[in-house]
Amino acid sequence: MVGAGGVATPAGHAPDRFFKYWLIIPAIFLLLLVGLFPLIYSLVVSFQNITMMEVDTSFSGFIHYAQLFKDARLWQALFHTLLITVIALPLELVLGLLMAQLFLERMPGRQIFVSLLVLPTVISPIVAGATWRLMFDNRYGPINQIIGWFAGEPMTILWTVNPSLVYPSIFICEVWQWTPFMFLILLAALSNVDKSLTEAAEIDGAGYWRIFFRIVLPSIWPVMAIAILIRGLDLVRIFDVIWALTQGGPGTMTETISIYTYVQGFQQFETSYTAAIAFLVIALLTVIVTWAIRRMGLAK
């Protein structure tokens, strides 16, 4: 006799029918708590009018959603988030790929290099931000000191304060922490590329770039796509590093959507309005993420 899952089941085990559901119920319950509850609760609260001053739970219509469209700071925050993502992600990807190429061929001591290179990736992002805060310090930090050696005079560059340098500071910290992530995954992917294919192409006289785009890239793409997806979604949610480096400043120059939501909810106490933002963000990302996961066949 064959059970529901294709596993042979001895006769007389009727309760087995529900076994598969017993297994998933506790996990699904908890997932609904973080997956469905916030969405529904945000929706409910966003139609009320709760702030630090008053708690008005009567239906207040779409005023908060109308406010979303007029909120220039929100759109700026979305723009900053997008900006960080579209610049940091390709940087990490390309640098990671170049590093993977460098370490692809055998060289004595490679494992030691790789072990050291991955350390930034496993550090807590808030600690990474704190570390770079110490590195960037205008007077006691080593960065200005090193630049000073090349410039021939002492430098006091205000990395995390100067409007034209805050984004480069964030990119340096981000790229430092996450390029090793890309590197590690791409190194594994490149090592799995079928050598006989590239060698055959080489004998046929194909050049380096032709081999890369026709053979290597297609075979590492499934893995690369997932690395891009993981990192891309991490960047869209970016909070810790910016919190440590600039707290969204100077002014609101580096405020991302996560920072803005935090400020509205936990510093301005605009409860209902924050709920509207949270709903918007969750709804938007659910659509994008579900599409991306299906598109990449990640669930197969």
């Binding site: 529901a4 506790p26 996990a27 807590s124």
Partner: protein, 280 residues
């Protein structure tokens, strides 16, 4: 290639060049970590020396002693409890769920997509409604409140990873155990769990590290009692920079366990961080 090949094409030259680039890269990626560690061992005079001191005269632990004396180091203990307990619960619940998804195709592909999509949600959008809920329950600044949230947030990762490991298992052992009269639960505990134990171990370590490294949930849902080391680090961020020693020492206390655990896991590292995309 012959020794008469152009200088840059010679194998020896190429290897040397690769080593030079490799060492330069490694220095760039390691130096900030070195700087963080070294500040934590410096005296105040050395920290605020201009130009900066590149290595301390002697290693001294005064910066750490202060953290233990003031009780700030207890936040590392809080992180340990929160990350440890939530990891154990998430591993048990996530693994049995993954087993159901793999062996019985429960919920089909839709359920699997939904589960993994929960991993991608922005923490702040989740933290805010959860915060309102916890205010209502009186769970803000409690261990169980944060443990429940960490567990729930870890579950997609655990389910995802364990799904991959369970798929790799052969069916025959489970079948013969059933024929021998084991119940479904016994099969799970006596056959499946022991067989995936290396996968369980690797997944648990990454789950632990993610919870250990969390900042946002702890920032939003703790006040004074359950503060984690990540939140404690930011408490030293005030305007004056004389908290540098504390920032560094606290960060190092929180980072050493991660380095240590990951070092033992080299073999599973790629599979772990790529969410199973690369099977090592």
């Amino acid at each position: 290639m012959t020794p008469h090949a152009p200088f840059l094409r010679r194998p020896g030259t190429q290897l040397t060049l690769r080593y030079i680039v490799a060492i330069a890269l490694t220095l760039f990626f390691i130096f900030p970590v070195y700087w963080l560690f070294i500040i934590s061992f410096k005296t105040p005079d050395e920290i605020f020396a201009f130009p900066p001191v590149w290595y301390p005269e002697s290693i001294q632990f005064a910066n750490y002693r202060v953290l233990f004396k003031d009780g700030d180091a207890e936040t590392v203990w809080n992180s340990l409890i929160l990350a440890g307990v939530s990891t154990v619960i998430a591993m048990v619940l996530g693994t049995i769920c993954a087993y159901s998804l793999v062996r019985f195709k429960t919920g089909g592909e839709n359920l699997a997509v939904w589960i993994i999509s929960q991993r991608m949600m922005p923490p702040i959008a989740i933290a805010f409604p959860i915060f309102l809920l916890y205010v209502f329950f009186g769970w803000v600044d409690s261990f169980h409140g944060l443990i429940i949230l960490y567990t729930a947030f870890s579950l997609p990762y655990v389910i995802w990873m364990m799904r991959g490991y369970i798929e790799d298992l052969p069916l025959e052992l489970e079948e013969s155990a059933l024929v021998d009269g084991c119940t479904r639960w016994e099969v799970l505990w006596k056959v499946v769990f022991p067989m995936v134990r290396s996968g369980l171990f690797a997944t648990a370590v990454f789950t632990f590290v993610f919870a250990w490294n969390d900042f946002l949930f702890a920032l939003v849902l703790t006040r004074t009692e359950v503060i984690t080391y990540t939140v404690q680090v930011t408490h030293y961020f005030g305007g004056q920079s004389n908290f540098w020693a504390k920032i560094a020492a606290m960060s190092v206390l929180g980072t050493i366990p991660v380095f240590f655990t990951v070092a033992t896991l080299q073999r599973y590292l790629v599979r772990g961080i790529s969410m199973g995309a690369v099977k090592g």
